[in-house]
Point group: C2
Chain length 244, copies 2
């Protein structure tokens, strides 16, 4: 049974894209077959996979029911790419019946070929992110260990309740992932606060701040290819083990 | 003559909110009168100013032509607050004639009372950000010294061209601000790349990475109140001097 997980937080820059790529890779190193889906019009995940301006992308899948374009990064790690044009889909989806269910319908068949599907969301709670929520029914909420990125957590939980009440769809939280953790007082304070409020919803694994993760993204590599001994590789592998 | 500047980059987490607040404060310490406008539905700037759930916000200004609610943070630093409800304005603005010009019209009179108006934008190029572009006609593009946040720069420049061609409005770039700079290879590489491409459009001042800026936001203080000797205070003051 495939597990479909959306990586979300409308706060920007918390590590959604970095986590989708590296968690995805770690899961394949544990023998799993993984499909990454980029539903952010900025297409950062697509770029981090070394793909620029794909011929067809998630835009054509959502807007024209096109066949799903798959980029095979490795035999176990595949990508459904995004493109800047996806930004123009936001208004169109609002006018369509079932505009919130497009992604769920599109990936219903193909997702069965994988053990995990990870969906990288944009920094918003717009209809693209709602498509991901509804298609996945599992959320991994990414929280940078800074004050501002914890602020939106309640809004995400309220959105989950709204979906349950209005669409009768149950959305489950896989967990809350703390990223860019450091030995600073603020980081420790944020970790304590999040753990106190969300208790066992918080993954035991934190992703430590590491410049190697930034360097890897600039080289279009996963952290495992860039430096498999770095803290980033160790942390994302530990996270993957919590999920399998 | 008031200078109205929007702080933009659809890449999330680059330092737009942190810059709006601290540049705003620095300008007041140079004797200027400053209005901060929060047009992000996440209302992070409003929160950083210590304001939660304002009675009226920019939502009522845009949707109901309400009188502009002003929070006086100090006698020289004022705020037009945002609220979560602003997210629901996005669709409504698309259906209104002149939906892109709402903010420009709303602040036409009040902006004359200030020397600077700084508009904090959400991490997107949606109609709220377009309202800010059109109301301000000056952009301060905030770029984190990481690879991913430079990627969207070209899209911002393309959007400016689109506004010029379709609405015959000239949008000027005040400058490109490099934030969270550090002595790492990646930070230096990003600074070099941005300076090579955008030349004299890049502010001489960079904002160095500093955990005190994160701590200050958690205490709802500007960096000047939190620690006026920190690198953050020095850097934002230097930036303010480049603008006056
Ligand atoms: N653990 C980490 N340590 C250091 N830097 C990190 C870490 N995780 C991510 N980064 C860097 O922080 C920046 C933000 O991360 P990323 O782009 O993955 O976040 P995001 O939530 O996907 O952003 P957006 O909201 O724009 O989609 C990137 O430049 C990335 O390289
Ligand atoms: N120079 C800096 N040094 C260290 N941390 C910083 C710096 N500037 C901002 N930050 C921190 O980085 C995070 C992102 O900054 P901020 O929220 O201001 O970015 P933003 O572009 O407004 O994000 P969003 O796209 O979500 O609106 C915050 O937690 C902030 O405290
Ligand atoms: Mg991202
Ligand atoms: Mg912000």
């Amino acid at each position: 049974m495939v597990k479909i997980i959306s990586l979300v937080n409308h706060k920007g820059g918390v590590g959604k894209t970095t986590s989708a790529l590296n968690l995805g890779k770690a899961l394949t190193l544990l023998g799993k077959k993984v499909l990454l889906i980029d539903i952010d019009p900025q297409a950062n995940l697509t770029l981090c996979c070394g793909i620029e301006q794909p011929a067809t992308s998630i835009y054509e899948v959502l807007m024209e029911d096109a066949e799903i374009p798959i980029c095979e990064l490795t035999d176990k790690l595949h990508l459904l790419p995004s493109d800047l044009v996806l930004a123009s889909a936001i208004n169109k989806l609002h006018t369509q019946i079932g505009g919130y269910f497009k992604l769920k319908k599109s990936i219903k068949t193909i997702s069965k070929k994988y053990d995990f599907v990870l969906i990288d969301c944009p920094p918003s709670l717009d209809i693209l992110t709602m498509n991901a929520f509804i298609a996945s029914q599992n959320l991994l909420i990414v929280v940078q260990s800074h004050y501002l990125s914890t602020v939106g957590l309640q809004t995400i939980l309220d959105t989950i309740t709204e979906i349950k009440e209005n669409l009768d769809i149950e959305i489950n939280i896989s967990g809350i992932l703390l990223t860019q953790t450091a030995h600073t007082n603020i980081s420790k304070a944020v970790i304590d606060t999040v753990k106190n409020i969300y208790q066992n919803k918080v993954f035991a694994t934190h992703i430590r701040q590491s410049v190697k993760l930034v360097e890897a993204s600039a080289e279009h590599k996963t952290i495992f290819e860039y430096d498999e001994k770095s803290s980033g590789a160790v942390d994302y592998m530990a996270l993957a083990k919590e999920l399998v």
